[in-house]
Symmetry: C2
Subunit: 357 residues, 2 copies
Amino acid sequence: MKNGSTLQLEIEKASTSKIDSVDFDNLVFGNIFTDHMMVCDYKNGEWRNPKVMPYGPLQLEPSARVFHYGQAVFEGMKAFKDDNGEVWLFRPQENFERLNKSSKRLAIPEFPTEVFFEGLEALLNLDREWIKQGFGNSLYIRPFVIATEAGVSASPAKEYKFLIICSPAKSYYSGEVRVVFAEKFSRAANGGVGFAKAAGNYGAQFYPTNLAKEEGFQQIIWTDANTHEYLEEAGTMNIFFRVGDKLLTAPTNDRILDGVTRKSVITLAEENDITVEVRRVSVKEIVDAAKKGDLKEIFGTGTAATINPVKGFGHDGEKFELEDQEDSYAQYFKTKLMEIQYNIAEDKFGWRYKVKK
Amino acid sequence: MKNGSTLQLEIEKASTSKIDSVDFDNLVFGNIFTDHMMVCDYKNGEWRNPKVMPYGPLQLEPSARVFHYGQAVFEGMKAFKDDNGEVWLFRPQENFERLNKSSKRLAIPEFPTEVFFEGLEALLNLDREWIKQGFGNSLYIRPFVIATEAGVSASPAKEYKFLIICSPAKSYYSGEVRVVFAEKFSRAANGGVGFAKAAGNYGAQFYPTNLAKEEGFQQIIWTDANTHEYLEEAGTMNIFFRVGDKLLTAPTNDRILDGVTRKSVITLAEENDITVEVRRVSVKEIVDAAKKGDLKEIFGTGTAATINPVKGFGHDGEKFELEDQEDSYAQYFKTKLMEIQYNIAEDKFGWRYKVKK
Ligand SMILES: Cc1ncc(COP(=O)(O)O)c(C=O)c1O
Ligand SMILES: Cc1ncc(COP(=O)(O)O)c(C=O)c1O
């Protein structure tokens, strides 16, 4: 993998830290970044000169491809600190592989594994103080790749920048979440880029989500673009429905992001004899179940929110509220996952990854 | 519209020009930019401080929304210089309105008309020397808007930058163009952002286009994402089919860009008693027509290429070649359009817009 010295990690420490100016009790998600970042450039057909360096602005040509053609992908992962001060990642290999899957679909060159993990760990070690102990505290990690080549012709860039930036986090959502099932707008096409964490997938959701907000819904559950009859996923979360004691969730396909939290919840459910049906979930059956009182819970799964319970939903002008469940699956999975993430519970499935000091 | 002095255009001239270093006979499309650019920032709920200034790099936070969520739209237009040295735009109001239509869909604040035209004209006048006389020479103009606000939360930015950059151009495509009809991948979903010039629409096409290139096709003609049975548009061009003496082109919808060149061609055709059927065009009818020898021409329409004749196409493993036509519609429309653009022919429809000196 190492090619001459071009993949040798360089480390430049920040001369000062801004950590003392940060109010860790009142963090807004994704607003404050740590003292360092990782960068690596792609040029002349290869990734070269990975570097962990002081966090700071980027300089790009106004014609850089990322501004014009959205050639950009990202990932979202978290680091957790246990009571002994050890730092843990959760299934990071999954995120790394998904980044490259996204890159491939966006015609971005794939990034080398070793450089990713070596840089990420060096970065986390430099910014270790930013990862606070305590259940719920974490460091949100954002790897991303952007096309930097100058020139406005609609073709893949020949130059890219890979970065990792980190932001201390409490929890993503505040307040109660109600969702509306999409009836007109869509998130992704068959044969499109919905399965990729491509930048353009997100900006495209803002306008419909604004409209939903005006109706009192914080999020949209996207349906298939053809018929709007099947429930797929939310903007940054996969979605589970609990009907009676069964869990339902859509299968992944080329429109749906294959979430790490989703697949972990499926594993945990199976381990605990909760039936999970991974199959197309129709709007009709969920509305019918809600009317009959069989719909017990809806929750979203994603790295930022872990598990996000949904309080109610809207469809076709009707609004439905969900009752709080004493034996909430959402709460159960959230605790289970967090206990693994914070090195409290046993790690049966080998999901934890210790960041070497 | 002028709000205090915040929408007063400021002009800062470049101290030197790079024009003498440019080889105008050997331009690569979109690679070289003129001495100036227009910029305007959106902050605290308003566009403010429009400025024409020396062309130069942008500084952005690594967490700027455009890098992560593809909140970015653009336009493409051209300026032409006639034999008297007057500079002309072609239907610029259409591009301006489409920019705002794209912005709206991407939850980007719309840009004020007067500021757009005042800034654009000031920019073109400063860089007037860059617009060369002669049929085929032009200045490609790229207005675009990017979300600049720092912070990785998946919600619309509150800060944006509007820019116009300009690049001297000859013609976009060199060489012969063959296309393949999409059978698996798609460009846009119903209820998605296909009708907008959203950055993410373009990066999403690069990978499938690379695969097409490996099969000997330079471009893809996208089909509807549901069935792949209907022909929609190409990556940066709308598409016309000439069957016998009739022209066929897909109607615009929420998946297809409403091209300025397309609508101009439809108008010119009608004026010249060429029948245009604006309706769904099936893959089957085009393949059948090709087999029967009725398919005379395929051509793309777009600002960059004007009219781009297609030499052949592929579908389902079969390849079809088109014969050159003596009475080529593509050639006819190209000449007609260019004569209007270069102020050679009468401007019956009021399409030309003179840039005031
Ligand atoms: C569209 C989408 N769906 C689902 C998810 C959840 O995926 P994960 O559990 O891997 O964070 C995310 C966020 O990462 C997302 O962006
Ligand atoms: C997707 C797409 N279709 C069609 C066109 C042609 O539109 P116009 O004729 O306005 O340039 C373009 C380019 O602007 C485009 O990007």
